[in-house]
Symmetry: C2
Subunit: 460 residues, 2 copies
C-alpha cells in the first residue's frame, strides 16, 4: 500500500496498521543489565531536564533535529542502502523491503513531518483544573510530560523520526528499539537526531537506541525508568509485551470493524462507504472485516455490491442467507472474529438493528464500527449502543486516524477501553500533576471542623 494512501506522502501513521509479522515470542524476559539501567537512567535524567524547558526550546530542538536530518541525508540514505543490500541477500519479503526503504524523497517527506510536529501547539503546561480549596489554598492541575517512553517497532526507519520528534515536542525522553533489518538506517537517523539535539538546549541523551534483542526485552523490566511502552507490531507482539511488563502499554488488539447497512438507507452511498471502508487500505486496522446487512435491504444492496466488490478484487464470504443472494463463498464461524487485513469481507444478514448490535458486541474489538442509515432514530440507537472507540454514521471507518481527526500527529491507536482510546495524538504522551499552594494549611483543621473547604473553581 502506497504511503499516499494515508494522504501525506511518505509520512505514515504510527498506528499498528501494518500486516502482522512473524515474531518469535517464546522467550523469557531478562533482567536489565547494569549498563542498560545506566543508559535508561541517563535518558530519565535528560527527560526530567527536558520536561522543564519551555515551548520555544522544545520546538527549537525538534527543528534542530530536522535540520540535522537534512544535513545527514546522504549518510542516512547510504545506511539505508546498506540495510537494503543485506535484506536482499537475506531474501526479505517484498512488503518488508518496501517498508524498510528510505530514499531521498521519502526522507525529505519524513523531515517535513518532523517540522510539522514542531509546529504543533504545546501540549504541556495546560491548566486543566484551577480550584480554591480554601482561602489561600489553591489547587492547579497542569499537563506535564510522561517522562520516558519505550517504543518497540518494526523495520520502518521513518518511525524513528516521527516518534522521536513527538517525544521531544512533548518533553519526553524516548528509548527506541527498531527492527534488526533497519539497524544501520536507525543508527544513522539517531546519530543525526542526537546531533540536532546537541545544537539545541535538549540533551542528546534524551534519545537512546537499543540495538540488541536482549536489551529490547529487558526494556520491559525498566519500571520506574520507563513510563509507557508503545509497541508497534503484530497482535502477538503487543500481547507478549502486555503479559511481560508492569509498565503501562499503549496497546492495540485486533481491529475487527463492522459496517451495518440499515433497512432505510441510501444504497449508493452505503456501497460507496462499504467499498472505501474495505478497500482504501485493507491492511489497516480501521478497515472493515464484516458487513452486516439488514435482511430487508440485502437483495437490493447485494445486487449493486456484488459486481462492485468483485471488480475491486474483494473476496466476499457470506452466511447462508447472504450466499442465497449470490455471495459466492460461505463464511465459517471463525470468519466473524477474523481480522483479514486483506481484500476479504465477511457478510451477514440480520433481522434488525438489535441483532446487528448484538453481533458487534459479541464479535467486535471495540475499534471502529459504522452504520449507514437515513433513519435518525436508528442512527442514534447505533451511536449510543456500540461500545467502540469510534462509532460512525454514514462515513468510512477509515477516518479513524489521528491525522484525519486533526490531531496533527498520531502516537498510535488504542483499542483499550481506558483513555487514551482510539487514535491518540500528542495527548497520549502527557500526564498531569496537581500543584497545591498554601500558606501553612494543615489537614487537621478541616478534620476538626475548625475550617471548611470552599471548593470554588477559578478561571482556567
Amino acid at each position: 500500500m502506497a504511503p499516499g494512501g494515508w494522504g501525506r506522502p511518505g509520512w505514515r501513521s504510527i498506528g499498528w496498521d501494518d500486516a502482522p509479522q512473524p515474531c518469535a515470542l517464546a522467550v523469557s524476559v531478562p533482567d536489565p543489565s547494569p549498563e542498560l539501567l545506566q543508559r535508561a537512567a541517563g535518558v530519565r535524567r535528560a527527560a526530567m531536564a527536558l520536561g522543564q524547558l519551555g515551548d520555544a526550546e522544545r520546538r527549537g530542538a525538534v527543528l534542530a533535529m530536522a535540520d540535522a536530518l537534512e544535513a545527514d541525508a546522504a549518510l542516512i540514505v547510504a545506511a539505508n542502502q546498506a540495510d537494503l543490500e543485506v535484506a536482499a541477500a537475506e531474501n526479505l519479503a517484498p512488503a518488508l523491503v518496501a517498508r524498510l526503504k528510505l530514499d531521498a524523497a521519502k526522507l525529505a517527506a519524513a523531515i517535513e513531518g518532523v517540522r510539522q510536529v514542531a509546529a504543533l501547539p504545546d501540549p504541556l503546561g495546560v491548566r486543566q483544573l484551577h480550584r480554591e480549596l480554601d482561602d489561600g489554598l489553591v489547587l492547579e492541575r497542569l499537563s506535564v510530560p510522561l517522562g520516558v517512553v519505550g517504543v518497540i517497532f518494526e523495520a520502518r526507519p521513518d518511525a524513528v523520526m516521527q516518534i522521536a520528534s513527538l517525544a521531544i515536542r512533548s518533553g519526553n525522553g524516548a528509548i527506541l528499539k527498531g527492527g534488526r533489518e533497519a539497524s544501520r538506517s536507525c543508527a544513522a537517523i539517531l546519530a543525526a537526531l542526537q546531533r540536532g539535539l546537541a545544537a539545541s538546549t535538549v540533551a542528546p541523551a534524551a534519545l537512546e537506541l537499543l540495538t540488541s534483542r536482549e536489551e529490547s526485552l529487558a526494556l520491559l523490566r525498566l519500571d520506574g525508568l520507563v513510563d509507557l511502552i508503545i509497541p508497534r507490531g503484530s497482535n502477538a507482539l503487543v500481547q507478549f509485551i502486555q503479559d511481560n511488563t508492569r509498565i503501562p502499554v499503549l496497546g492495540h488488539a485486533d481491529g475487527i470493524c463492522h459496517l451495518y447497512v440499515d433497512q432505510e438507507v441510501d444504497i449508493a452511498q452505503a456501497l460507496r462507504v462499504a467499498l472505501d471502508s474495505k478497500t482504501q487500505y485493507p491492511a489497516a486496522c480501521n478497515a472493515i472485516e464484516t458487513l452486516l446487512l439488514h435482511r430487508a435491504v440485502a437483495p437490493r444492496f447485494l445486487e449493486a455490491a456484488l459486481p462492485a466488490f468483485a471488480s475491486a478484487g474483494v473476496e466476499l464470504r457470506g452466511d447462508a442467507a447472504a450466499c442465497a443472494l449470490g455471495v459466492p463463498q460461505a463464511a465459517a464461524e471463525a470468519d466473524w472474529g477474523t481480522e483479514y487485513s486483506d481484500l476479504i469481507l465477511a457478510v451477514r444478514l440480520v433481522d434488525s438493528l438489535e441483532q446487528a448490535l448484538a453481533h458487534i458486541a459479541r464479535h467486535g474489538s471495540r475499534h471502529t464500527d459504522a452504520i449507514c442509515t437515513t433513519n435518525t432514530a436508528a442512527a442514534e440507537t447505533f451511536l449510543r449502543g456500540v461500545d467502540s472507540a469510534g462509532v460512525y454514521l454514514n462515513c468510512s471507518t477509515r477516518f479513524a486516524d489521528g491525522f484525519r481527526y486533526g490531531f496533527g500527529a498520531e502516537v498510535g491507536i488504542s483499542t483499550q477501553t481506558l483513555p487514551p482510546r482510539g487514535p491518540v495524538g500528542l495527548e497520549g504522551l502527557v500526564t498531569y500533576r496537581y500543584l497545591l499552594r498554601g500558606t501553612g494549611h494543615i489537614a487537621a483543621d478541616y478534620a476538626s471542623g475548625e475550617r471548611a473547604f470552599t471548593h470554588r473553581d477559578l478561571p482556567l
Copy 2:
C-alpha cells in the same frame, strides 16, 4: 484511626490508605469457570443497558440503593454482628475488627455517603471535543462509562456501598470481591443494593458479588468482560494483580512522601505542616515518611521540632548530621525507601534544594511531596522539578485526597504516571467515544486530494 480523621464521619476515602495486610500471594491464577463467565457476561449486558440511561435514571437508582440500605439496616447490622462473632472466635487483629465493624451509626453515615454520590454531577455525556473535519463530517468526543469494573478489597464492608454507588452513578457495572471476614456483611449489603436497583430502571445484575477465592483470582482473567481492576489492599496485592492480569489496574504503589524545609522558611509554619503531614493519619499513603532539612535551617528547626515530634509520639530516625543535632536514632539506608505507615519519620539534612530534589527523585514514589519555603524562586523550582502526582507548597501532604480536592468522591489514589493520576474521582470510571457523523464521506477522496479536511473546532 477514627473515621472522623477524614473529615466525614464513617465515610472514609476509598484509597489504599490502610496499613498493609498479609496476603498469601504464592498462588496461580485459574481460568474463569463457565459459571463465572456467565455471571460476568450478565454484568456486562446489564452495564451496557445502564450506560445508555440518562442522568436522572442513574441518580434515581443510586437513591433507591440508599433507600434499600436504610430499609435493610437491621439485617445488615445483624449480618455484621455475625461476622464480628466469627472474627472474635478467630482472634482477628483489633485493627481488622475495627474496619470490619459496621454499627447502625456507621451504616447511616455510609448511606448518607451513597446519597452524596447520587448528588454528584453527571460524569457522562460530557462533550470533550467537537470538530468539523469537513463540510458535513462532524467529530464529537463524549464521555461514556468504562463498562465493568472489578473491585478487590479488604474486610471493610462500607467499601461495597461506596464503590457500588460510584459505579452505578457513572453507568458502570461492578464485580465486587470483599474480604472473607466480611462475607456476611457484604452479602447483606449487596442484597439490599440489588433490591434497590430492582426498584429502579437499572438491572440488579449490574452488581455482582464474588465470594470464593478462586472466583476473585479468576476475575483477573476476565479481559474483555472487565475493563478496569481496582485493588484495595497491600502493595503486594496490587503488584500481584498487575503481574497476573491484562486488564488495566488502577494501581497504587508505595506512598513515600517527602517534606523539604528550605533555608528560607517560616519555621513555626513548617513545623506545623510537618507535624500534620506525619501525624494527622500516619497510616495514610499521603503521610510523609522523610523530612529533608536544609542544613542552614536544621539547627533552628530541630530545636523546635524535636520536642514537638516527641510529644506527638513520633520516632525520628536521622542521618549523621541530623543525629548530631539531637535526632535520637540513626537511619539506615533502607529508611529512605520505607513507607512506615506509622509514627516514624526519617530525617535527612541536605546542602541545597537541588540535593533535596535529587533525594526525592531517587527515593520518592511520585505520590505527593511538599516544600516549605518563603522564597518564591525556590518554591517554583520545587514545583516544576518534582515529578509526583502532587507537588505542594507550604501545606500538608495530607490534602492529597479526592474529597479534599473537591471531587465529591474518590475511586482511589493512583501512583502511576499515566492519567488518571493522584486522587481519582468519578472521572476514573469513565472513558470516551468518538462519534463521527457524515453524509457518505469516504477516505479515498482525501487521500487523492479531491477533498481536504477543514479541521474546524465547533463550540463544545
